[in-house]
Structure formats: C-alpha cells, structure tokens
C-alpha cells in the first residue's frame, strides 16, 4: 500500500485543484509500520498498520480552516477541501496565525533517512530479534518483555505559494525490560537501540545489556532520598531533553513567557551544548517539517548560554524572522518543537564518570516524567531499571527506585563530566536524540518507591 512518488504528487495536486481559497496547503502522510511485542518471555502482540491521509489547511481573508481525511478517492479529496474551506468561511479572522510558508528553503536531501531493509522487514525478522533478546534474559532467569518495531513513512507538503517538499524515512526500534519478578523492588534492567537501518540493530547486544543490568540490580534496598551526585545514562539524558523540548525550546513558549530559556543568558553549565538538526544522518533524520520547510540546524544552548528557540511560520512571522522548519501538524496550538536533538559529548569513558565520586547515584533511566513547573523546568519522575549507590568511585549496591523533583537547568548547571561516546535513542513517535551519559554535581531525590513486606503498608 506504499504510495509512489507520482501517486503522492497526484493526490496533492488533485486536492489543491479543488481549493478556492486564497492560500492552500495540502499535506500527505503515509505510514506502513509493524510491531512485535513480547512479555513473559514470549510474543503476545504482533500488529501491522497501513494508513494514508491528507490534511488541507486553507487561509482566506485571514480565516483558517483545517480538515483531514484518510478517504482518498476523488469524492473524499473534494469533501476534505470543501470542509476546510467551509470552516474558514465561518471562522473568525486570526491574523496572528494566518501565515503559510513562502520561503524557498533549500530542498532537504530526500532519502537520507530511508533504508529499504527497514521498510521491508517481515514478522519473522522481528521474531528472530525477540528470540535473541528473550534468550539473553532467560539465561539469567529473568522475565523478558519488550518490543521490536519497523516501518516507513512518507510526508509530503505542497502549498499555493510554491512550497513543495517530501521526505521518506524509516525507523526501527528494539527495546526490552527484564525483571526477576513482578514484586515491588524486583530486579530490573533495560536496553534500547534505534536506527533508520534495522540491520544495524544488534538484538543479542540489547538483550545482554538489559540482562546484565537486571542481574546487577538484584537485591535492591532502600536508601534515604536527598541531594546526591548522579550519573545519568543516555536513556535518562534523552528523556530530559525530550521534556525541555516540550516545555521550553519553542518560540511560542518563549514568546509567551512560559519557557525557562532566557536568550543570551547562561542557563546551564558552560560544558553543555544542545542543538537540533533534522538532517544529520547520525540521528534519526526528518529533514522537513509539517509545513514543508527544510529543517535548519538550531543551536539551542551553546556553552551553557541560551542562544535560540525553534520557529514555525507563524512564530517566525511574529518575531520577524524565518521559520527554522520545526512546525508540528496543523492545527497546532502548542507551537513549534525540535524533534532531532543532539547534546555535545565530553571526553570521559563511562568508568571515568565515577572517578572520585564519594557518594552518589547511578541512574539508568527515568519513568513517567512530567513537568511540575515549566518556567523553572522543574520535572518529577521516577528512576527505573537499574538505580545504584556509588561510593568512592565504585557501584556498591542497587537501591529502590527514587522519585526526583528537580529543576533541569539547575541540574545541568552542575555537569561535571560527559562521555565521549553517544547513544542514539528514538523519540516515542518521531525523531530522536543523540546524547552522552553525564555526571551531575547535584540532583534532588524527593521520595522513593518501596519494597513491600507482608503485613506492612496496607498488606493483608
């Protein structure tokens, strides 16, 4: 069901031809994806989906209408355009947002994020990956769960100002959680690999990494919450970047005073540099945004200084600048967002991160993170799948998962070291993060989970 380039062009043109509006944008999105899921050391869910849809945004006398459909026959295309036009006719003017891109941005290099083997991988290939991961865990008497997914997507955008852009991308992801029981305080380990090329994912290595972590986390005991030095593995660092992007790296959040970003000011330590680059092939590229604008590299934090935020067409027009190519699909009230983040590595090995740490915590990853105070970028969440006490430069024992409540600019103002190696981790739905592991001078743990004991804490 994958549409050819010609078929996509025909759909865009056919929809455009129906519009009577002053400005029209047609967006095509096609997805063909599959996911094999395993739990209790066996495959239990195995799914595939094929979908294609068209979204039409029209602007007429500063009135905007948006409609989408996945009914792509002639009548469906006519109806979706008429629907968008009808909404615009009956809407109130919104000069603040009535802007479609007109810039002739350099065309993105199509195909840099597409690997045919990823698009074509079959369920047997995913099952083989699942079996390799399961085998690594079962060998250590662990209960293995996870997922192995692959798929391709096509995004194409055409507008009446002449913008025409298209990208085809693929993405594969393998992740696993391994536990030694379902009791509270059980040992657990995690690993994940993501790539545009399914062939580069080493399922056995993913399995071994998670199993090793789970084995080392057996026998976790409680530890008093408080402020500690920490080592955050790449999984945890990527989650922090994901939330900073969500709450603070957007021009709209900045414009409305909701962001922690103060442009030109130091907001993090001078060894912290974070940028977004949707075309970098070492990430998970998505070279155009949902308005068809080629993504620019944007240096968000440079040597600890807040240097820029990302724009879509509407925020750029208000700020008197150009879109950086970070629009989300219309109608988008959240504003632009960077989806391909990178953090500059340091020069340490993972072992060196521990050097000289008198007493601290090693964090594998975070769980269920949410903003508590977006303007201060205070996040809360739990540690998960391998939390360890470090003493005198050595990991000495696993501990029960902590809850943190911490301002992230404050935490990233105390970066003591970063690894030279980075890891690529896929975003939940799109894009990804390439980040090092970091050591921070202080991190505030405000609570802990618990190991249940019979007769205590509400037990029978």
């Amino acid at each position: 069901m994958v549409a050819t380039r010609d078929e996509v062009d025909e759909l865009l043109d056919a929809a455009m031809a129906h519009s009577t509006a002053e400005q029209t944008e047609v967006l095509y999105f096609g997805e063909d994806s599959a996911l094999t899921r395993f739990a209790n050391s066996q495959i239990h869910q195995n799914v595939r989906q094929h979908d294609r849809s068209v979204q039409v945004r029209v602007v007429d006398r500063q009135r905007i209408g948006v409609a989408s459909t996945n009914r792509l026959d002639e009548a469906g295309l006519r109806d979706v355009v008429q629907s968008a036009v009808s909404i615009a006719e009956r809407s109130a003017p919104n000069p603040q947002a009535a802007v479609l891109p007109t810039m002739a941005s350099p065309p993105a290099a199509e195909g840099s994020g597409y690997v045919a083997a990823t698009a074509e991988a079959d369920p047997e290939q995913r099952a083989a990956g699942a079996r390799a991961v399961i085998a690594a865990g079962v060998a250590q008497r662990l209960i293995v769960s996870g997922s192995f997914s692959n798929g391709s997507s096509t995004l194409a955008v055409s507008n009446s100002h002449g913008v025409r852009a298209r990208q085809r991308t693929t993405r594969a992801s393998l992740l696993t959680v391994m536990l030694d029981s379902y009791e509270s305080g059980a040992a657990s380990g995690y690993a994940q690999a993501g790539s545009t090329d399914i062939g580069s994912i080493d399922a056995e290595a993913v399995g071994v990494e998670a199993a090793d972590k789970a084995v080392r986390s057996r026998g976790a005991t409680e530890l008093e919450p408080g402020e500690y030095e920490v080592v955050l593995e790449e999984y945890a660092v990527a989650t922090i970047l994901e939330y900073l992007a969500y709450i603070g790296f957007s021009a709209l959040a900045y414009e409305e005073g909701r962001s922690f970003m103060e442009l030109g000011e130091r907001v993090m330590g001078e060894n912290v540099t974070i940028w977004d680059d949707g075309s970098d092939a070492t990430g998970l590229p998505s070279p155009i945004d949902f308005e068809g604008v080629a993504k620019q590299r944007v240096d968000l934090i440079h040597d600890g200084i807040a240097t820029a935020v990302v724009h879509d067409a509407a925020t750029a027009a208000r700020a008197g600048t150009n879109s950086t190519g970070h629009a989300l699909p219309a109608p988008n009230t959240w504003g632009p967002m960077p989806l391909n983040l990178f953090m500059r590595p340091g020069d340490s090995t993972r072992e060196q991160l521990l050097s000289g740490m008198q007493r601290g915590i090693w964090v594998t990853r975070f769980h269920y993170v949410n903003p508590v105070h977006p303007k201060k970028a205070i996040l809360t969440g739990m540690t998960k799948d391998g939390t360890f006490l470090v003493e005198h430069g050595q990991i000495v024992r696993p501990v029960i998962n902590f809850r943190f409540t911490q301002s992230m600019p404050e935490a990233f103002s105390s970066v003591l070291a970063l690894t030279a190696d980075t890891k690529l981790l896929p975003g939940e739905y799109i894009g990804g993060y390439r980040v090092p592991a970091v050591r921070l001078g202080r991190f505030n743990f405000t609570g802990a989970s618990m190991r249940e004991r019979a007769g205590e804490d509400g037990g029978p």
């Binding site: 239990h44 195995n46 009956r90 047997e124 269920y368 509400g458």
Partner: protein, 495 residues
C-alpha cells in the same frame, strides 16, 4: 463536516468487507478471528486570546483483523475499505500470527463469552455535529470575554471538541455489533505570567476541560462564561501567593483531582494485563498482584471503587467492548479490600472469571487492550466540599490537576495542582501556589477518612490516557466527589 456515503451503502460495503475478511482468516488457518470496521469523525475549536487558533475536522476510517492461529495472535489493518484489501489484510494477519508462534510458550485461550448480535448508540439530545460553527464560536467568544475583563491575564484559552465513532464488530463466533459513540467536551483556562511564575486556572477542569459521552447539551450546561472571571482572578492572584508549605498535613482534594488520583492509583494498577506483566515493557506492572485478590487492604473501609461502563454520560461508557462483551459494572474495591480487576477475554480466565468487558481499541489500526471504562469512587456521606472543609480543623485544600507522575508498580505517586488554600478552623484561608502532594498508594487510600456525598459527585472525563505499543489513547471516566486524606506529605521539592 466531511461528506458521508449513505448508511445503506456503507452497510453493504461493511458487510462484504467483514464476510471476506472472516472467510479469508478461516481459510488461512485462524481458529478465531474478529473484524472491526471503524469510522471516526472529530471536530475541534480552539480560541486563544480571542482569536480562532484552531478550527478543524477530521475523518479516519479503516478496519482491523485480529485472529488466532494455533493459539498465537496476529493483527493487521488498512484504511482501504475494499473487499480485496480485506482478504489481503486477513492473510497478512495470519502470517503475522504464524511468526508469533516462533516465540510463544503458552497458547492464548479466550473465555466463553457468548456471541452477541446487538447495537448501541450514545443517548444524545443535541447532535454536536448538527450545531453550527457560529453557535459554538459564540460560546467560546463569550467565555473568552469574561476572562479578558480581568486585568493581568496573559493567555486566554477556550476550546471545545466532538467525536463520533461508528464501529461494527464481527467475529467468527457469530457476534455482530453496531455502535455509535458520541463525545463532547469543552473548557476554558486563564494564564498569568510574570518574570518567574506561570500560573493557570481552568474550568471545569484542566487539560481541556470536561468530556462526556453525550451531545451539545453537555456544553451548554457547563455555562463556561459564568466561570471566566473567577478563574482569571485566581490565576492573577496566584502570581503573588506564597509557595505551598512543606510538611505532613490533612489534605482535602476537589473531585477533579480525586478523579485523576483514581485514574493513576486504582484504574491502571487494576488492569489485569499490567498485573500479568504484558505491559511491562512500556508503562510497567502493578503492585496489585493476583494473590492479593479478595484480601489486600487497598484503602480505608470508606473506599469502594467500581468499574462501570454503563454510567450515563461517562467518557468510558459504551454498549459493548471491542471484544463484543457487554458493558457492565464490576467492583474493584469493596470496603477498602481489592475485589476485582479490569479484564479481557484473554486475561479473565487466569483468575477464573469471565471478561467484565474492558478491552478497548483506540482506533481501527490498533488492537484492543485492557483500558479503564469509568472507574468510580462511590460517594460517601460527608456532604459537599464546604461541609468537608468545615469539618477539617487544619489542613490544605488542593484543586485542579497540574502535573502527575507515578512509579512503574503504581505505588509512589506525586501530583501537582493549580491552586491550594490552607484550611484553618474549618475555613479556607490563605491561597498558596504550586501545591504538590506525594504518597504510597495503599497508605494514601488507607488514610481516606471522608468522601463527599452523591450531591457532590461527578463523572469526570479524561481524554488523554496513554497505553500500549504502538501507543494508544484512551477516553475514560472517573466518578468522584471531594475527599479527605490524613497525614499526607505536601509541598515536595525545592522552590
């Protein structure tokens, strides 16, 4: 707003598609198969600072074929509603099921739910898709104007949204179910901003407001404009309010926050798929393991919690779940003791029961997972919110969720609310900002010593519950009244 084919024409297309898919599935070796054909229309309006920032409609339709081959699941789906595609998708699902067998230890066994031929339609007084855009906009504009009359508000939001899902479920066991579910929701929010703080107040709830199954009558009943000034004044006042104090206090929660507390600390941990480990790779597992059924003290004796997919107006209300099991009411906690789980046809036999009907799929291209329906805390006898506060000597009252987080076993949670007020001698005192509280689930519910009466009870809709891989969104409800909890840790973190 998108053009529709006639019901009769659609019915013919759907019937042929189902017949071809089920036939192809059986010819491909399926011992069981079901097909869901779904059409979802939605409409969204968002007014921001008086300007219409989003006005959109969408249509998504397609079908999914789920089947068992030699006890292993396979699923495939397509947006092409064509008989030939139905056969191809069914064959593809069977191939996927065979691949599942390459890493399977135990075959899937379904419960003995009888086949059903039936239909269900959400009771609607005023079809929201028949109400003109101008009428909808007028309500939002009026509410926006009420907020705008208060000086100091930086961002004004007013929104409403509607969904209509028509779906047909059919299985090789002989079930054939037609449903039409209609949802309506709306809300307003005022945000005040200064150099260091961003403070918002919402009505009727945060995260978009209140959502129900029902028609436009629910939007009219909210009377959004009547509440614009109050939330605006509170948002501005919060900028100057002192930070929430830290310590152990008596905590009174409004019904909307009780609803989210139910969601995170009762709804999710009683999902039997989580309990059995099949969600371990994403959202986690549960401390409510099956050995605790019928004996674990989850909360105080006042705490009675039901899953009720039949509750009128609840966002988790329907006629049949996506395995064809009739909607029903089922106790999860009785007198504070764990008494049940949310189940599916696959999981219920593991505890010796029949499915209570909570297998739900977000869309045609996703499989049913165990999802909450309406997870309701039965009302108590403590009266209304004013009565609860009058009965509290010292403590803190918190209202309207701002943030949430809970660990992977659903034990350690932390919530933040938009606003708090200290309680002194049975009266609301000083307003405080950024209130948060944290606890351990059974300890927290064990400390519940008062629950508001039926007169203070509302089913709050939550339209953004995430679960599963690929990710699914769930629309669920939570019946709740205000409630009181003793010795709760509040004011978490450094500010």
């Amino acid at each position: 707003m998108v053009g529709e084919c006639g019901d009769e024409e659609r019915g013919g297309v759907v019937q042929e598609l189902i017949d071809r898919a089920l036939d192809a599935a059986q010819r491909a070796g399926a011992s069981y198969a079901d097909v869901r054909v779904v059409e979802r229309r939605s409409e969204e309006l968002k007014l921001k600072n008086g300007e219409l920032e989003a006005a959109s409609s969408s249509l998504s339709e397609g079908f999914g074929v789920r089947l068992l081959v030699e006890g292993a699941w396979g699923f495939s789906s397509s947006s092409l509603l064509e008989p030939g595609e139905a056969e191809r998708v069914a064959r593809e699902a069977a191939e996927i099921a065979r691949a599942s067998r390459l890493a399977q230890r135990e075959p899937v066994v379904l419960d003995q739910t009888p086949a059903v031929v039936a239909s269900y339609r959400t009771p609607v007084e005023e079809d929201p898709f028949g109400v003109g855009l101008d009428q909808k906009l007028a309500i939002l504009v009026e509410a926006d104007a009420a907020i705008a009359r208060v000086a100091g508000v930086a961002i004004r939001n007013a929104s409403m949204g509607f969904e209509r899902e028509r779906k047909t479920f059919a299985s090789t066991e002989g079930s054939r179910i037609e449903q039409e579910i209609v949802e309506s929701g709306a809300g307003i929010e005022a945000t005040a901003v200064d150099a260091t703080e961003v403070q918002a107040r919402s009505y009727p709830n945060s995260w978009g407001g209140q959502f129900v199954t029902g028609g436009f009558e629910a939007i009219r009943a909210m009377r959004l404009a009547d509440h614009g000034q109050e939330i605006a004044e509170q948002a501005v006042a919060l900028l100057q309010a002192p930070q929430c104090p830290s310590g152990e206090m008596t905590l009174v929660l409004d019904a909307t926050q009780v609803a989210l507390q139910l969601h995170e600390s009762c709804g999710h941990p009683t999902e039997l798929d989580r309990v059995l480990g099949t969600e371990a790779s994403y959202a986690g597992t549960s401390f409510l393991t099956t050995d605790k059924l019928g004996q674990f003290r989850y909360g105080s004796e006042l705490v009675n919690i039901d899953a009720d997919a039949t509750a009128p107006g609840g966002l988790g209300t329907f006629g049949y779940d996506d395995e064809g099991v009739p909607a029903q009411r089922s106790a999860l906690v009785e007198g504070g003791v764990l008494s049940g789980y949310l189940t599916s046809r696959e999981t219920a036999p593991t505890i010796g029961r029949q499915s209570m009907g909570s297998a739900r799929a977000w869309s045609w291209n996703l499989i049913p997972l165990i999802r909450m329906t309406n997870i309701n805390l039965r009302p108590g006898e403590a009266g209304g919110l004013d009565d609860l506060i009058a009965d509290t000597k010292d403590g803190i009252f918190m209202s309207t969720n701002k943030s949430w987080s809970i660990d992977d076993r659903r034990l350690n949670f932390q919530f933040g609310d938009q606003v708090g007020w200290l309680i002194r001698d049975g009266k609301l005192g000083e307003m405080v900002r950024n209130p948060t509280y944290t606890g351990i689930t059974p300890q927290f519910w064990g400390s519940c010593d008062a629950i508001g009466s039926a007169s203070a009870y509302t089913i709050w809709g939550i339209p953004n519950c995430g679960k599963g891989e690929p990710g699914q969104v769930g629309h669920v409800g939570h019946g709740a009244a205000p409630a009181r909890f003793r010795n709760v840790k509040v004011g978490v973190g450094r500010w």
